[in-house]
């Protein structure tokens, strides 16, 4: 029984991918896609009730169980959204059936990759998984075959590959550091072992390793100045992929980073990873919020907002301490839910208005009230205004930081404020003012969007104690 949960989380996407690769017909494949994602979600949920034993390759603990559930959940909702989205794309002829088949297959591969990366108990395996996920997204970003899409995918690919290489080098270094202590062979790459013995590792090697891992996986997280692929990939790919990218892939990469941070946290001789992460986080935050101002493409804008929030999260984990770590985890969860919800809305908006250019939309709350107000709510949430979830995490981050390092907190607050100003500057022109663009009705699947927003709202008001206990426990692990 115990094995089933994990194998399910891995096997179902794999099988589904194989199946979808061969099956024709959009409706059928879309349904299978949803069903598979749903099954995966159920398996993941079963992790809550029964926790499988950790093996040499797979591992489940509080940290990644949360992530797995989050990933599978967003994966599920996104699959529902993508069903209606892709349907519209087929009608509008932007995609052809073979590409749709390819798309669905890739979608499951992506899910497989991310789940594997999360539950891998082996740094090598995790590396492989993350790279697999990256490559699949590269393929999906280029799926529209337009100049922009190809160029974005190419950029993503090149930068991603370099990131892959750097991350691998870091992984090798970790192995080298572990080998003298743990001994040769597989054990020297197994998390559980590494964490136990990390105190005896050679600090210098760990330092170098962390630098490479930070840059390697940081590229995936989209931290400035390694972010370059992110905005274009979000803007040019299909919107479901943008949602998954922002909502999940970034998290997965950050998750890997956190694992290694735990390693360094155990080892006293190694340099504190905190300052590095804090610096990168603040750079990303400030950089991204200023980039928000000149955006003309709505998806690219929210991509930059993802960079901003990844910056905040990295900052929080860099600060460390129970409060900040808790806030970081919370912010991560809330951001995934909110940002994917926003992308759901944006996808439908772009389809309704027939464009992604902000200048061509306007008065959305009048032309499409449901979409418009959900977008407003999403932006309110992402801007960190109460009573939605992100406010709680930002509250904790800022207040806990200000008591410890006032100047950092001031930079943080400055960034957040500039970001809010930028977001609402654009929101005003999108959702309010004289209506612009087509006014027609759109068939949209509101369920995923509302589900996410409801969760975010609920979390902002009431966090279930179980979740809190988990996060606190994990926050303790993160040191």
């Amino acid at each position: 029984m115990t094995v089933d949960a994990l194998t399910g989380v891995l096997a179902i996407p794999a099988i589904a991918a194989a199946l979808l690769a061969v099956l024709p017909g959009y409706r059928l494949t879309a349904r299978i896609n949803i069903a598979a994602s749903g099954l995966t979600l159920i398996c993941a949920l079963s992790l809550f009730v029964r926790r499988p034993a950790t093996g040499a390759y797979l591992l489940v603990d509080d940290l990644n169980a949360t992530f797995v559930v989050l990933t599978t959940f967003v994966g599920f909702t996104t699959s529902i959204f993508s069903a209606s989205y892709i349907g519209h794309e087929l009608e509008s002829g932007r995609l052809t059936p073979p590409f749709v088949r390819f798309y669905h297959a890739m979608y499951q591969v992506l899910m497989f990759g991310m789940n594997l990366a999360l539950i891998a108990n082996n740094i090598g395996l995790m590396w492989v998984a993350i790279e697999m996920a990256t490559l699949t997204t590269v393929l999906m970003v280029g799926i529209y075959r337009t100049h922009e899409a190809l160029e974005a995918a190419w950029k993503y690919f090149i930068l991603g590959s370099v990131g892959i290489a750097l991350a691998l080098f870091g992984t090798i270094l970790v192995y080298m550091a572990a080998r003298p202590v743990v001994g040769e062979g597989l054990d020297a790459m197994v998390w559980t072992v590494l964490v136990q013995r990390a105190s005896a590792f050679d600090p210098a090697l760990l330092d170098v390793a962390f630098v490479f891992l930070l840059l390697g996986y940081g590229t995936k997280v989209g931290l400035a100045p390694l972010h370059a692929w992110l905005p274009d990939a979000h803007a040019e790919g299909p919107t479901p992929i943008s949602a998954v990218l922002s909502g999940l892939l970034l998290n997965v990469a950050l998750y890997a980073l956190l694992r290694f941070k735990m390693l360094l946290a155990v080892n006293t001789g190694a340099l504190a990873p905190g300052p590095l992460m804090v610096t990168l986080g603040l750079i990303s935050l400030v950089f991204a919020v200023f980039m928000l101002y000149r955006r003309r493409d709505i998806k690219r804008m929210f991509a930059y907002s993802s960079i901003e929030h990844m910056g905040i999260i990295t900052f929080a984990f860099g600060m460390g301490g129970p409060l900040a770590n808790f806030a970081g985890l919370l912010h991560m969860t809330m951001h995934s839910l909110t940002k994917s919800a926003i992308f759901f809305a944006v996808g439908h908006v772009a389809q309704a208005k027939g464009t992604q250019r902000i200048a061509d939309m306007g008065g959305l709350t009048e032309t499409h009230p449901m979409l418009g107000w959900s977008l407003v709510l999403g932006v309110v949430a992402i801007a960190g205004l109460p009573p939605l979830g992100i406010f709680m995490s930002e509250f904790l981050v800022v207040s806990s930081t200000f008591a410890r390092a006032p100047l950092l907190a001031l930079v943080l607050v400055f960034g957040i404020l500039v970001g809010v100003a930028a977001l609402f500057l654009r929101l005003n022109s999108i959702a309010f003012g004289q209506p612009r663009g087509p006014v027609g009705k759109t068939e949209a699947s509101y369920v995923p969007m509302f589900a996410h927003l409801a969760l975010v709202l609920g979390a902002g008001i009431y966090l279930p104690p179980a979740l809190v206990a988990w996060f606190q426990n994990v926050a303790g692990l993160l040191g």
Binding site: L150, V162, F169, R179, G185, V208, R300
Partner: protein
């Protein structure tokens, strides 16, 4: 391990660094490809040597891959592509060879400094090897950022990846090395003959990255 083994491994790794410098020095594509072939060949040799001294037979697979795929297949294909796309043979540089060399030397020095801080608990071979591998990686990256046209950037990336394989094989008893090298070969295959170059060829007439950049986001 005995002294002589160590020296040979050391020698091979050093040669790899040297050849990376040679790559930096080239200003013609064909020559660059040839040098890269040599690079890959030396890598294969070094991997094979590691396989021998660590008596880890699975590393031979990596060596063979390096030899057949990187030292032979890739250069040949690139020759083809260059000929087919009629890319002109000059390598457009951002900074001159001289300064590139200087930067390279600086990078090697940096990697030495960083690596030699490692305590002597880790065995010397690993340390030296890592130092060399790191410099190879950095040199590859340097090549990617100082060369303008795609082929040379690809070559830069591949030599970077050679450095990785060098490190991986140098790490005694590291699992998954073969898998990783395979994965990377696939990656490179993607880059070189993969869909992108293909699409790019049918959309633009050159793989010069700047031609791609003409279609950068937001320029609408």
């Amino acid at each position: 391990m005995s002294r002589i083994d160590f020296d040979i491994a050391h020698l091979l790794a050093g040669t790899l660094v040297l050849i990376s410098f040679l790559e930096l020095y080239q200003d013609r594509l064909y020559a660059l490809l040839n040098v890269y072939a040599a690079h890959a060949f030396v890598l294969a040799a070094s991997v094979a040597w590691q396989a021998f001294v660590q008596d880890a037979p699975h590393l031979y697979v990596t060596a063979v891959i390096a030899l057949l795929f990187k030292a032979i297949a890739i250069p040949v294909t690139l020759h083809r592509i260059i000929a087919k796309l009629g890319i002109h043979r000059e390598i457009e540089k951002v900074v001159g060879v001289g300064s590139t060399m200087l930067a390279g030397i600086g990078l090697v020095a940096l990697s030495m400094v960083v690596m030699l801080r490692v305590t002597h608990g880790a065995d010397p071979l690993a340390r030296e090897d890592l130092a060399f591998a790191l410099s190879v990686v950095l040199l590859g990256l340097l090549m990617m950022v100082t060369r303008r046209n795609a082929v040379s950037q690809v070559v830069g990336f591949m030599s970077l990846e050679n450095g990785l394989v060098l490190a991986a094989t140098g790490a005694k008893g590291m699992p998954l090395v073969v898998e990783i090298s395979v994965a990377f070969s696939i990656l490179i295959a993607f880059i070189v003959i993969g869909i992108f170059l293909f699409r790019i060829r049918e959309r633009f007439d050159t793989v010069d990255v700047q031609a791609l950049d003409r279609y950068r986001g937001e320029r609408r």
